[in-house]
Structures are given as C-alpha cells and as structure tokens.
C-alpha cells in the first residue's frame, strides 16, 4: 500500500463526520476542513511513531507537518531518510 493511501485510510478511520460527506485532496488541510477532532493530531503522532517505528521529537511537533496528507508523507519520508 502506498504511503499516501495508508495515511488517507488512517484519517478516514478517524473522521468525525459521515464518510459519504468527505472528499479531500492530498493537499487539503484536514484540520481546517473540520473532518477530524482536536485529539486527532496526537493520535496521528502516536500512529506514525508505532507504524513507521519513528520517534517524533518535540521540535518536530509542528501542525504544518501533519495538516495535509502530502505534508505527513513528506515528514515521514524525511524522518525515514535520516533514521
């Protein structure tokens, strides 16, 4: 499964709206769209750390690393390169 698809599936599994209402691109800001709740960012951090065996440092806990699918994927890939 592609990384984009994996992240999208995780977001879809944590929606706070009904599935058939949801349509978003890989560059849409998932927080501004209101599809996820305020606990989602930390849930995503925990998911990324366990799923990809990464440690997200305090100075990487920027909302801009997690607000779109592409930003999340880029962040994971940049971490994986330096792992």
């Amino acid at each position: 499964m592609q990384l984009q698809e994996q992240i999208r599936n995780f977001i879809l599994a944590n929606l706070v709206v009904f599935d058939d209402e949801v349509e978003f691109s890989d560059d849409d800001n998932i927080f501004e769209l209101g599809f996820v709740n305020s606990l989602f960012a930390m849930k995503l951090v925990t998911f990324i750390e366990s799923e990809f065996q990464l440690t997200i440092e305090s100075d990487e806990m920027e909302i801009s690393n997690f607000n779109t699918i592409n930003n999340i994927v880029n962040f994971i890939q940049s971490k994986s390169v330096y792992k």
Binding site: V16, F31, V36, N37, S38, L39, F40, A41, M42, K43, V45, T46, S58, M61, E62, I63, F66
Partner: protein, 230 residues
C-alpha cells in the same frame, strides 16, 4: 512570517507608519482594527492545543512509571480535554468532575469516542464523595482561579493513589499569556491568577505537594505550565 523594517533613521516616523497602514491622508490609529488583528493572531485553536499539550505531556511524563491503562480523575474538567488526550495517548479510563451544566452539555457533544471509558459527574468538587482513588489526578485551568490554593490542592491529593501522580496545568505568567488575556477579556471570568514557574512550585510545596517535574508549553497562543507532583 517576514517583517521588513520601515525604519530608515534614528527616529521612527510614526506618522508615516500609521498613515500608510490606514491608506488615508489623515494619520490616525484604528484601535479596534489593531485589537481585532491581535485577537485573531492569538485565537484559540483546538487542533494546535491538542498537539502542544500532547507534546508537553510527553515531556512531563517521560520515564515516569505511569500504570498501564491508568484510571484518571480530572477536577473542574469542563469538556475533559486533558483526560481525553491522556486516554488517547496512554489508554485507560477516567472520571470527569464539574458542576457546570454548560460544560457537561459541551462534553456530550464531543464525547463519542471516549464515552464508554469516561464517567462524567456533574458535582461540586468541594463536596465530592468518591471511594475510589486514581492513578492520575489532574486539572487544566483550575487552580489559578483560587486565591487560597491549599484546599483545592488537597482535593487533588485526597483522590490520588499512594503510588499515583498529580498533573496540574495552569496558564503561566509570561508576556505572551498576559497579551492573550489582555485581548480576550470575555474569558476572564472571576479570579484568575497567572503564576510564574517559581511561584507555582513554591505554592505547591507550601500546600504539602512534592513537585517532580515542571514543563512549559511551546508554540501555543498562550504559555501554560504543566507540573507533575506526588
């Protein structure tokens, strides 16, 4: 964000600055516009709060032997944001206590994923009668509302297990926090005492608590202080 300097001499030209800002011929300050701009800059953002609070909690609880799936009690819980975040990060279950019907109603709007793991008690915490003690007893934005803190802190301690921990979170006295409350007067309900880290730790020790670690948030629209105590 990039700022470019408008100052080309030793004396800053305020007249020119405000004339340009207002795009008019007459220099003047639109105080309301300025006020609204600063309010917008320092606007609460629940997603950002979740990330910043999660980050500071991880630092606060690093290497702390919190029991797996802890039982959490949150006092003056509001919507129980702190407990819901702790349960997201560490699993477990919790009890929220607040005697505000509006907060309870707001909690019910957001409870969905945690409803089976959280009990909400619509009660006055000063008359709270619970036989259970908890692995984590916490509050977020509670103790700064009390001038005399000994009683409210003793309630935290009363319901904490011998080997449990207290997590106290308060807005910290900093330039940023002062600016935040200055432009959000509508949320200044009743008494609110901003505390520096030093004063907060002194007050906790004076109330018989033992602070273990204190961490300050980074990157939110106000600064908050998180303290782990026994």
């Amino acid at each position: 964000m990039i700022y470019t300097t408008k100052n080309t001499s030793a004396d800053f030209n305020w007249t020119e600055y405000f004339t340009t800002l207002n795009s008019g011929e007459t220099p003047g300050v639109d105080a309301n516009l300025y006020f609204q701009n600063v309010r917008e800059l320092l606007r609460e953002n629940a997603h950002l709060l979740g990330l910043v609070l999660g980050d500071v909690l991880r630092k606060l609880l690093r290497d702390v032997p919190v029991k797996p799936e802890p039982r959490v009690l949150e006092l003056g819980a509001g919507t129980g944001f702190l407990t819901r975040l702790l349960l997201t990060m560490y699993q477990g279950s919790g009890v929220l206590v607040d005697n505000c019907q509006t907060s309870f109603d707001a909690y019910n709007q957001v409870a969905h994923n945690h409803a089976d793991r959280i009990t909400y008690l619509l009660e006055d915490l000063f008359t709270l009668k619970l036989t259970e003690t908890f692995d984590l007893v916490c509050s977020f934005g509670l103790i700064e509302h009390f001038k005399e803190k000994a009683e409210i802190l003793s309630i935290h301690k009363q319901f904490c297990k011998e080997d449990g921990y207290l997590i106290l979170i308060v807005p910290m006295d900093s330039f940023l926090t002062r600016a935040y409350y200055e432009v959000h007067p509508e949320i200044n309900l009743g008494y609110r005492e901003l505390l520096t880290k030093k004063i907060a730790l002194e007050q906790l020790r004076a109330s018989g608590l033992q602070p273990i670690r204190a961490e300050v948030s980074q990157g939110y629209v106000y600064d908050f202080l998180t303290i782990l105590c026994k």
